[in-house]
Subunit: 118 residues, 2 copies
């Protein structure tokens, strides 16, 4: 199936993950909510997220997360699918994502209206 | 001995520590350098740090770290002494500070000209 865009989606490889870039990416409530949602429901399309923010703002949040190495994105037709890079993050920074998910409880809730894309 | 200032230095208690505020505080190279320096040499006066930034900027960085609960500050005469709250942070967020210190290697180096105040 054709890609949604012609520009490739760049992801840092596991050894290139930067803890401080990741911490900065996660210290934002919308991005944290995206991460919490993806932890509960891998493989969601961008269209299923955060109806309270504009699409362009949401795209920026996803890009920050992707460029920090927190999520992986790939296009399926016109849909951009997102997954949390949990295994790689656990391997590179043991305990970090579990700590983040634990501390997010009571602070943010996963989007419940998310549109499962696969 | 008289306090350096009349305004009290406010510190969050251990149960009030906020992981996301801490991650945001640590995602800055000057603040990370302060933390790395304090991990190596507890009990340093502010005057011993970061001669490459202005005192007012440095004061702001220390305040961000203190308000996030990363460091504890107390005044001894005219000197403000700083310590990393490592034990409390280890208890509240196991592994986080060790991960931060490990990942800081090769990225920032502790200030070597720091002025030991005690």
């Amino acid at each position: 199936m054709a890609s949604r865009t012609s520009s490739p989606l760049v992801h840092p490889d596991m050894n290139g993950l930067d803890l401080f870039k990741i911490m900065s990416a996660l210290a934002d409530e919308t991005r944290l909510t995206i991460v919490v949602t993806l932890a509960a429901s891998p493989g969601l399309a961008c269209s299923g997220f955060a109806r309270d923010v504009t699409p362009s703002v949401l795209t920026r949040h996803f890009r920050v997360l992707r460029e920090a190495g927190v999520i992986r994105q790939h296009d399926v037709g016109t849909r951009r699918i997102n997954t949390l890079r949990k295994e790689e993050l656990d391997h590179r920074f043991p305990g970090l994502i579990d700590l983040v998910l634990k501390e997010s409880i009571g602070r943010v809730a996963p989007y419940t209206t998310a549109d499962r894309a696969c």
